[in-house]
C-alpha cells in the first residue's frame, strides 16, 4: 500500500509541524478538554491554534465527508491518522457528543437538510450537543420513557423530565427521545428529535455526584415548542435511531481506558510503593494484580482493533459493541481500584493542592458510573446473551 505509506509520511510531517508542544501532553484537568459551542473559550492559545488548524484540515472528524467539514478519510487513512496522533501524544482537538453520537445517527437517518444544517456546526465546534435519553423511571429500561411530545399543527409541544444529561447546562442543542404516541407499544411511539436548549420552557439542574463534580444534569421540559421538521428519521420510529446511536456510545465508552495512555500502571505504582532490589514493585500482591490487569488491558486493545477490522471486513456482529462496552468499563473500574490501592493514603486526600484537589479519588469514583451509563453491565450481558448467543428467553 504505497499510497498509505505516503499518507502516513505526510500526516506525520504535518502533525509534527502543526501540533503545538503543549497539545502533546496528556490531559490532566477537565478544562484541558475543548468541547466547542456558542459560549466556549479556549484555555490557551495553543489549544485555539491546534483546534483551528485541525478544523481547517477537516480533521476534527477525519472520517466524515468533506462537504460537512470532515476530512473525507477512508478507514485505513483514519487509522493512520489516529496512530500518528497517538505516536506524538497529540490531544483530540475537539471533544463532542455531536461527533461521537449524533453525527453518525444523522449521517444514517437525517434528511439532507438536517445534515447540511447540523453537521458543519459540529465539525467546526460551533454547537455543543447533549443527549436526552434517560428518565428517572427509565434507566436500564430506557424504552419505558414518559417524556411526551404532543402534536400542535407543525410543532410538537414537549413536556417531561430527563436525567443524566451530560453537560446539559453547557449545551446548545439537545437530541432527545420523546413519546409521540402514548398508545403504542413500549418500543414504538418514540421519536428522536432535536431542539435548541435556549427554547422557552427548557431548564437544567446539575446533579452533584459522589466524585464532588456535576457532569450530568436533570433537564426539564415545560411546554417546549419544537417544529416537527426536527424529528430525525420517521415519527414513532425513534427507537431505531436510538439503538443505532447507543452502539456508537458504547463503542466510545469501551475505549475510555485508552485515554489514560502513558506509563504502565506498574510504574505509576512504583512511585508510591517503591521497588525491590530486582526492580520489582515492592508489594508482590499488588504487582500480581497489576500484571494481571495489564494482560487484560493489552488484550482489550487487541479486541478493539479487531472489532474495527471485523466491521470493515463485514464480519462484525452489530451487538458486539455491547460486549466491548461491558468489558471496557469493568476494566476501567478495575484500573482505578488498582490506582487507589497503589496510591494508598496519598490517594485518599480530597482537597489539597498536593493531591491536585483529590484528582485520583474523584476520577476513581467517576469510573463507577462507567458500568451504568450508556446501558448497564447487566443490560450489556443480556444483549450478548440474546442477540449473539441466542439464548432462550434472554
Amino acid at each position: 500500500m504505497p499510497d498509505l505509506d505516503q499518507f502516513r509520511r505526510e500526516t506525520r510531517a504535518w502533525l509534527e509541524a502543526n501540533c503545538p508542544p503543549e497539545m502533546r501532553k496528556p490531559v490532566m484537568r477537565d478544562e484541558d478538554v475543548f468541547w466547542g459551542g456558542r459560549n466556549t473559550t479556549f484555555v490557551s492559545e495553543a489549544q485555539k491554534v491546534w483546534f483551528e488548524r485541525m478544523r481547517d484540515k477537516g480533521w476534527t472528524v477525519p472520517d466524515w465527508p468533506k462537504q460537512y467539514g470532515g476530512g473525507g478519510l477512508d478507514g485505513a487513512e483514519a487509522k493512520v491518522l489516529r496512530e500518528e496522533m497517538a505516536a506524538i501524544g497529540a490531544r483530540p482537538p475537539l471533544s463532542s457528543f455531536g461527533i461521537w453520537m449524533l453525527g453518525p445517527a444523522l449521517l444514517k437517518y437525517g434528511t439532507d437538510a438536517q445534515k447540511a444544517e447540523h453537521l458543519p456546526k459540529i465539525t467546526a465546534g460551533l454547537i455543543r450537543w447533549c443527549q436526552g435519553y434517560s428518565e428517572p423511571n427509565a434507566g436500564s429500561d430506557l424504552a419505558s420513557l414518559q417524556t411526551r411530545a404532543e402534536s400542535d399543527g407543525d410543532d410538537f409541544i414537549i413536556n417531561g423530565q430527563k436525567i443524566w444529561t451530560s453537560y446539559a447546562n453547557y449545551a446548545d442543542w439537545i437530541f432527545c427521545l420523546v413519546r409521540t404516541d402514548p398508545t403504542a407499544k413500549k418500543h414504538d411511539g418514540i421519536s428522536f428529535i432535536l431542539f435548541d436548549m435556549t427554547s422557552k420552557g427548557v431548564s437544567t439542574k446539575p446533579i452533584l455526584l459522589i466524585s464532588g463534580k456535576s457532569p450530568f444534569c436533570e433537564t426539564f421540559f415545560d411546554n417546549v415548542r419544537v417544529p416537527k421538521s426536527h424529528v430525525v428519521g420517521t415519527v414513532n420510529r425513534g427507537w431505531d435511531v436510538a439503538k443505532y446511536l447507543l452502539q456508537h456510545e458504547r463503542a466510545m465508552i469501551s475505549g475510555l481506558g485508552d485515554r489514560s495512555v502513558g506509563r504502565p500502571l506498574g510504574q505509576i505504582a512504583a512511585d508510591s510503593v517503591g521497588s525491590d532490589a530486582q526492580g520489582r514493585l515492592d508489594d508482590a500482591m499488588l504487582r500480581g494484580q497489576i500484571a494481571a490487569f495489564e494482560v487484560d488491558e493489552a488484550a482489550l486493545a487487541c479486541a478493539a482493533e479487531r472489532a474495527i477490522d471485523l466491521a470493515k471486513a463485514g464480519q462484525g456482529h452489530p451487538a458486539f459493541s455491547s460486549a466491548m462496552k461491558y468489558y471496557g468499563t469493568e476494566l476501567n473500574k478495575r484500573r482505578y481500584e488498582i490506582l487507589m490501592s497503589a496510591g494508598g493514603a496519598d490517594a485518599l486526600e480530597w482537597e489539597s493542592e498536593r493531591s491536585k484537589q483529590g484528582a485520583r479519588p474523584r476520577a476513581w469514583l467517576r469510573t463507577k458510573a462507567n458500568s451504568i451509563e450508556g446501558g448497564t453491565s447487566e443490560v450489556m450481558l443480556g444483549i450478548v446473551a440474546k442477540r449473539i448467543l441466542d439464548l432462550p428467553g434472554a
Partner: protein
C-alpha cells in the same frame, strides 16, 4: 468460647445502635462535611458517649472506665460503621487506651486513662509515614538529647491528629527503616514547640492529619514502654486497631447490603422488581455469604485479641484482609445495583464507598494482611 455475642454484648449493641441511629445517622456526617466543621465530629455526642461508658469502654474500672474488651469495642465499631459516624472512639477509646494499657507505667496510666474515660482527653496514634502502611518502615527520628529526645520527621494519615490532646508517636530511636529493633513510642503534647499539624480533608470526610515534627523536645518520661523495644507494643496496639476497623467494615458492609436488598425489592425496571432478576439474586446471595463468613472471622479475631493479643496476629490478619475485600465488594455492588442513583451525592451509598476505601487502607490493606499471613506461615 462460642462465636456468638453474649447476652450482655447484645444489649450493648442494642443500646449503641439506639443512640447512634438516633443521634448520628449518615445525615450527621453529611452535615459535618457540608458545614466544613472544624472538629469533624460532634463534641456533644462524644460527651454522651462518655456518659454511657463508651469512651472508657476499654479503660479498667479503677480508672473510671467500663473495663470491657475488644469484642465489646467491636460491637461499638460495627454500629459506628452502620451510620459512618465520625467519632474519637477509634483513635481515643481503642488505640489510645490500648497503647496506655499495654505500654504505660502507673504514672502514665493514672494521668491519662481517667480523662479518656470521662471524655475530656482525645488521643491520636501517629505511625504511617508513606503512602502504604508499613509499620517497621518508621523512620521519624528520635535523637537523644540530654535526658530526653528530639523528634524529627513527618507522619501522615494520623486519625484525629488535629483534635488530639495527646499524640502517641512511633519513632526510630535506633536501627534503620525496616528493622524491628529500635522503635520507641512517645507520648507527646501536640502543643509542643516544633509540631505543625495539617488537617487533611479526606475522601470519606473523616478526620486525618499530617504532622511534622521539627526537633520536638520530649523528656525521658514521655517514653511509652521500653526504649528501642517498641515494635511488639506497637504491633499489639495496631492489631487491636485492625480488629476495630474490621468491625467497622462489617457494620458498613451489612448496612450497604441491607440498603441494596431493600432497593432490589422496590425498584422496577422492565415491568419487574429488579430483585426478581436471577443474575442480581445470585450476586446478592454471594455477597450475603461473603459478609457472613467475614463476620465470623472478625468475631474470632476480637475474641483472640481478648484472650491473648500477642497471639492474635494471624486471626487479625485474616479478619482485616477479609473485611477489606468484603467491604469493597459490598460498596461496589451497592453502587452498581442502585444504578445512576447510587452515583449521586444525594444518595448515601457513596459515603459508604468512600469510607470503605479509607478503612481498607487503614493499618494495612487486604494485600498487606494476606502477605502477613503468608510470612507467618513460612512461605
Amino acid at each position: 468460647m462460642p462465636l456468638v455475642l453474649t447476652e450482655e454484648q447484645s444489649m450493648l449493641r442494642d443500646s449503641a445502635r439506639g443512640l447512634i441511629s438516633d443521634k448520628a445517622p449518615v445525615a450527621h456526617l453529611r452535615q459535618l462535611r457540608d458545614s466544613r466543621d472544624a472538629d469533624g465530629f460532634s463534641r456533644a455526642l462524644w460527651k454522651t458517649f462518655a456518659e454511657m461508658g463508651f469512651a472508657g469502654l476499654l479503660v479498667p474500672e479503677k480508672f473510671g472506665g467500663s473495663g470491657l474488651g475488644n469484642v465489646e469495642a467491636g460491637v461499638l465499631m460495627e454500629e459506628i460503621g452502620r451510620t459512618l459516624m465520625p467519632s474519637p472512639f477509634f483513635a481515643t477509646a481503642v488505640l489510645g487506651t490500648s497503647a496506655l494499657l499495654r505500654g504505660g507505667n502507673a504514672t502514665q496510666q493514672s494521668a491519662y486513662l481517667p480523662k479518656i474515660a470521662d471524655g475530656s482527653l482525645l488521643a491520636a496514634l501517629a505511625v504511617d509515614e508513606h503512602a502504604k502502611h508499613r509499620p517497621l518502615q518508621v523512620s521519624l527520628q528520635a535523637v537523644r538529647s540530654g535526658n530526653g529526645f528530639r523528634l524529627i520527621g513527618t507522619k501522615t494519615f494520623v486519625v484525629d491528629g488535629h483534635i488530639a490532646d495527646l499524640l502517641i508517636v512511633a519513632a526510630r530511636s535506633a536501627g534503620s527503616a525496616g528493622e524491628r529493633n529500635g522503635l520507641t513510642l512517645f507520648l507527646v503534647d501536640p502543643k509542643s514547640k516544633g509540631i505543625a499539624i495539617e488537617r487533611t480533608a479526606m475522601v470519606d470526610s473523616h478526620n486525618a492529619a499530617r504532622i511534622t515534627f521539627d526537633n520536638v523536645e520530649v523528656t525521658a518520661d514521655s517514653v511509652l514502654g521500653e526504649i528501642d523495644q517498641g515494635a511488639d507494643l506497637l504491633e499489639g496496639v495496631l492489631n487491636i486497631g485492625r480488629g476495630a476497623v474490621a468491625s467497622e467494615m462489617i457494620g458498613l458492609s451489612e448496612e450497604v447490603f441491607g440498603r441494596t436488598v431493600t432497593y432490589l425489592k422496590e425498584r422496577k425496571q422492565f415491568g419487574k422488581l429488579i430483585g426478581e432478576f436471577q443474575a442480581l439474586q445470585h450476586r446478592a446471595a454471594q455477597l450475603y455469604i461473603d459478609i457472613e463468613i467475614t463476620r465470623a472471622a472478625v468475631l474470632k479475631a476480637l475474641q483472640a485479641l481478648d484472650q491473648d493479643a500477642g497471639k492474635a496476629g494471624a486471626a487479625v490478619a485474616v479478619a482485616k484482609a477479609r473485611a477489606g475485600t468484603t467491604a469493597t465488594l459490598a460498596v461496589q455492588e451497592g453502587v452498581q445495583m442502585h444504578g445512576g442513583m447510587g452515583m449521586t451525592d444525594q444518595f448515601d451509598i457513596g459515603f459508604f464507598m468512600k469510607r470503605a476505601r479509607v478503612c481498607q487502607e487503614l493499618f494495612g490493606d487486604s494485600n498487606y494482611h494476606a502477605d502477613q499471613l503468608a510470612r507467618g506461615r513460612g512461605y
